[in-house]
């Protein structure tokens, strides 16, 4: 019987392992050291999680490198937390390891996701291509092939070298891994680094060999065309990447087009266009728009050259906003000069329905002396409207007319952005300021101010300062990398139909083109304001005119593949499902996200440190009762150097004067700054709610014992404090590590529960959230629980925030009972805010 009893006793009350005092002391110090490492890792992991969430929520621009870097910081620090917890817990919680490995594998799979393998022919005749073949042909050629199937629409003959061929080229030359390696090391904020890496990758592609079978196919299709059109045949080799020419991301002019390519130049021209997948301009655009470099596969169109007498760009619905008209931009010769903005371009607006009457207004120089005949205008308008009907959306169409008068469509894509009408002549609206120039064409409305920076070459491009005004001769696509850096764009030539104008509109960059004297009047470093909407440039900075165009997208990355990846990765990192340490589901095997693991590790490590003294009967690690006149019990456990040197460790009581923990003193100071006025006056209804809740939730019953609930505990060292407090019916935890090392510093606060019904508890937490936001905490509120955090700030700031938390933990108790009354809520909020400001304004509280 005795043996049975002793076994039973051992099962439920295992005796402490036998250790010498010296061993215990060393073990306690080791545990504390690992506990500190765990706290620092927790701090770093939570900070990186918050950075990822903020980047997503604030619609900031981020790259795959950012997602990789931050996920790695989180994962490595969570790994450290598990290791350190298992040390302080004598190897317990082994289920955390498989839980962590599962999450890690899931995140890795998302980050390392390569492009979908493409199956299909390497070369396709263009007349066999339509929208259904987009995965092989790329967007541009799929649209063009589709346009060729519309009645009375002609497109040039040609063939498409498919994305499957591009994939085969990269695979045969083992380039995919190498390209990924290079780009993962690229500093996306550094244009010079990006330019260098882009050059390296393009060289790799230029030097690679094509599969023999592919070369054979390319020549076979070329020879067929040459047999039909006669030798020597010249073709245009044009990009048609997957994802190019979409409504929200035009990629206008960012990839290479090679013109007048003969048989001998075919392979090299193909490689040049393929390599332009990785041009600096395409890469910066993809970063801004949230596309993954490694997912871009290039289809390439090879089209018989049209000997154009007239070319142009037409918008089937005027992007000016008047949907009754369509815009026709035109110029003699090829379309290249129009889209690159180097040629004088004419604009005519006609109604969208037959007989396509010309609009009777003359808004700027683009309209003067249109060289199109009435018959040509009608032909273009009819075809463009046919294309809009066929594709079901307004189209941006590039066209050429040959010497026989035949109209060829070279491209048809959805219009990527809208911009505002500009009917009035250039108009000075800021009468006090000096207009330097009143001229030009609005390519994107809005206004921007900054120092002038004239860009003529790559050296100028690489040294372009952020927020300067970009001034160029021609709006060439090669300046596209600067559009996210500039505060406005001015060029001496160009029209709203140019590629750079299209991209400027996508980014919402105020853009004024065809300002003939811009280079004569504007000088480097001169501060100017560009009012693109009214086509005026002023001397100096006029803040009222600096407005973001209403047409710009709220976030250029919205819905992009990189944003999708971020969301998918965050799904495994940030949701917190383990919120209640008292729940039976608060177990290592239930951790489903990295945030869960941090929460679990933190909670258990504090508990392990808390229990050490009791478990090992280590008197120095045991709790001392704090002598104080508050009607609550405060107990303090010293983890390291949290008590004064003269304090006798065998004492059961301690005075506040013997506390050497600076964060604890700051909290204590906040608690005592103002006397508590006692519980609020509760109405009969409020009290009824409390009684009802008490019957349903045994956790609210003060008679129910739990390790850290009945007494309020401080775990302290000189720089650390963890306060677990049960005041009234709510649970609060304040924790801080305040060291001189920024990486270790943080203050965190958790709050949950209350006695009233859910509505009132949530109202109290909302009030707390409001106050904590006012004092610059980062707050997450879920129902009646909140977590607030600040980290890596100045010592003074963090000490003052501990005072705030000390104050709130005392003064918000039991106020949930009166939270149904919005007037009361506001009165409490005002009182708390006033008290806290007064408390913080007092000088002389220094806690280091």
């Amino acid at each position: 019987m005795g043996t049975f009893l002793s076994k039973l006793q051992q099962l439920f009350f295992p005796s402490a392992p036998s250790h010498s005092l010296e061993e215990l002391q060393q073990r306690f110090l080791d545990n504390y050291s690992h506990f500190r490492e765990l706290l620092t890792a927790n701090n770093n992991a939570l900070e990186a999680m918050a950075e990822m969430e903020q980047a997503l929520l604030q619609g900031r621009n981020f790259s795959m490198a950012f997602i990789r870097a931050k996920s790695t910081v989180v994962a490595v620090n969570v790994f450290k937390m598990i290791e350190n917890l298992r040390y302080v817990a004598d190897g317990k919680y082994s289920a955390l390891v498989p839980a962590y490995e599962t999450i890690q594998r899931e995140i890795d799979a998302l980050l390392d996701q390569g492009p979908e393998p493409v199956d299909g022919a390497w070369v396709l005749p263009l007349d066999a291509v339509n929208r259904a073949s987009v995965a092989l042909s790329g967007e541009k050629m799929a649209n063009l092939g589709e346009a060729g199937h519309v009645n009375n629409v002609s497109i040039p003959e040609g063939f498409v070298i498919s994305s499957a061929a591009a994939q085969a080229v990269l695979q045969q030359n083992r380039l995919l891994t190498e390209i990924n390696r290079i780009f993962q090391q690229t500093d996306s904020h550094n244009l010079e680094d990006m330019h260098r890496r882009s050059h390296d990758v393009q060289q790799l592609i230029q030097r690679c060999t094509l599969p023999d079978e592919l070369e054979k196919e390319m020549y076979k299709h070329f020879d067929q065309l040459e047999a039909k059109y006669g030798a020597p045949l010249e073709i245009a080799v044009r990009s048609s990447a997957l994802g190019e020419d979409l409504g929200h991301a035009s990629f206008a002019g960012l990839y290479q087009t090679e013109l007048n390519v003969d048989r001998e130049q075919l392979v090299q021209a193909y490689k040049t266009v393929l390599a332009s997948t990785y041009s600096t301009r395409a890469m910066t655009y993809r970063l801004a728009k949230g596309y993954r470099h490694e997912h871009m596969l290039m289809g390439v169109g090879c089209l018989v050259m049209i000997k154009a007498t007239m070319s142009g760009v037409s918008y089937s619905s005027s992007p000016g906003g008047d949907s009754h008209y369509l815009d026709i931009y035109c110029s003699p010769g090829s379309a290249r000069g129009i889209v690159e903005g180097t040629k004088e371009t004419f604009l005519v607006q006609v109604s969208r329905t037959p007989p396509f009457t010309q609009r009777d207004s003359d808004r700027n120089n683009e309209r003067k002396a249109c060289p199109l005949t009435n018959a040509q205008r009608t032909l273009i308008a009819t075809t463009v409207m046919d294309l809009e009907r066929h594709f079901g959306a307004p189209q941006d169409v590039e066209w050429s007319i040959d010497s026989s008068g035949k109209l060829f469509i070279l491209q048809s894509r959805p219009i990527s952005t809208l911009f505002l009408e500009q009917d009035e002549p250039a108009q000075q609206i800021h009468t006090d300021a000096q207009p330097l120039l009143q001229d030009g064409v609005t390519a994107c409305p809005g206004g921007g101010s900054g120092p002038v920076r004239v860009v003529r070459n790559t050296v100028d491009l690489l040294s372009f300062p952020r927020k300067a005004i970009l001034v160029v001769e021609h709006p060439l696509p090669e300046w596209a990398p600067l559009l996210k850096r500039a505060s406005a764009l001015v060029a001496t030539t160009g029209s709203a139909a140019g590629h750079l104008a299209t991209i400027a509109r996508e980014f919402g960059l105020p853009t004024l083109l065809a300002v003939k004297d811009a280079l004569k009047v504007l000088n480097n470093d001169q501060i100017i304001t560009v009012d693109a909407s009214h086509r005026v440039i002023y001397d100096g900075c006029i803040k009222e005119l600096c407005v973001t165009p209403a047409t710009s997208q709220s976030s250029p990355m919205q819905g992009s593949p990189v944003e999708q990846t971020m969301k998918q990765v965050l799904h495994h990192i940030t949701p917190l499902t383990l919120t209640d340490p008292g729940s039976p589901f608060f177990r290592s095997s239930y951790c489903t996200t990295l945030h869960d693991i941090t929460r679990f590790c933190h909670e258990k490590s504090v508990t392990e440190m808390f229990r050490f003294g009791e478990r090992y009967r280590y008197v120095k690690g045991a709790a001392k009762r704090l002598v104080d006149n508050m009607p609550m019990e405060w107990w303090v456990i010293n983890l390291a150097d949290g008590f004064s040197e003269g304090f006798n460790a065998s004492e059961k009581y301690i005075n506040i004067s013997d506390i050497a923990s600076s964060p604890m003193l700051a909290i204590w100071n906040g608690m005592h700054a103002f006397p508590w006025k006692g519980p609020p006056q509760v109405s009969f209804r409020g009290m009824g709610s409390i009684l009802f809740q008490s019957t349903r939730n045994p956790g609210l019953d003060p008679a129910v014992r739990s390790a850290m609930i009945q007494k309020n505990y401080f775990l302290v060292s000189r720089n650390y404090c963890n306060l677990s407090v049960r005041l009234g019916y709510h649970y609060a935890m304040i924790e801080a590590y305040i060291s001189s090392l920024r990486t270790e510093r943080y203050v965190t606060f958790r709050f949950k529960g209350g006695a009233a019904d859910e509505e009132r508890r949530v109202a109290r937490v909302a009030l707390l959230t409001d106050l904590l936001n006012e004092f610059e905490f980062r707050v997450d509120q879920i129902g009646d629980a909140l977590t607030a955090r600040v980290e890596k700030r100045s010592l003074e700031f963090l000490y003052s925030r501990l005072q705030v938390l000390g104050y709130l933990s005392i003064h918000t108790r039991q106020i949930d009972m009166v939270m149904a009354d919005s007037g009361q809520q506001q009165r409490y909020r005002d009182t708390f805010s006033r008290d806290i400001k007064e408390m913080l304004s007092h000088d002389g509280h220094r806690f280091p």
Partner: protein, 137 residues
């Protein structure tokens, strides 16, 4: 144990920085010396091992991707022969797998390039504190 409020520990411990990018090594050498740290450099794993054999350092900061013997293999060699030395891994190519592999092989911490120098200095201080604490045993 006390919570030191300065770079006391880092200044007491000798530091070895290992990277094949010589320009980076030179910049870091200048910067960390100005902070009062005793730093020597090595351009690869074999040089680092020789330096450790001649004079074991307390803290090593090492790039993960180096030609020849890579940073992870080098870390494993160092931890095998000098288990008390603390190693901080650097990488310009963030990958969870390589980060975790480094930690499993005994790295103290993991730092991403481009380097936030203040962050690296603080990590060196923390690693030095751990090294000194372990030395006392």
């Amino acid at each position: 144990m006390t919570d030191t409020d300065s770079l006391d520990a880092a200044q007491k411990v000798s530091l070895l920085m290992v990277d094949d990018e010589l320009e980076f090594l030179e910049t870091m050498h200048k910067h960390l010396s100005r902070k009062g740290l005793q730093i020597t450099t090595a351009d690869g794993c074999s040089t680092a091992i020789k330096a450790m054999e001649a004079d074991p350092r307390g803290v090593i900061v090492m790039d993960v991707s180096m030609p020849g013997i890579d940073g992870i293999q080098c870390l494993q060699k160092i931890k095998k022969h000098w288990p008390k030395s603390e190693v901080i891994m650097l990488t310009g190519h963030a990958s969870i797998q390589s980060g975790v592999q480094g930690m499993q092989s005994g790295a103290f911490d993991y730092c991403l390039k481009p380097i936030d120098t203040q962050e690296l200095v603080e990590k060196i201080e923390l690693a030095a504190r751990k090294f000194l604490a372990n030395q006392k045993r």
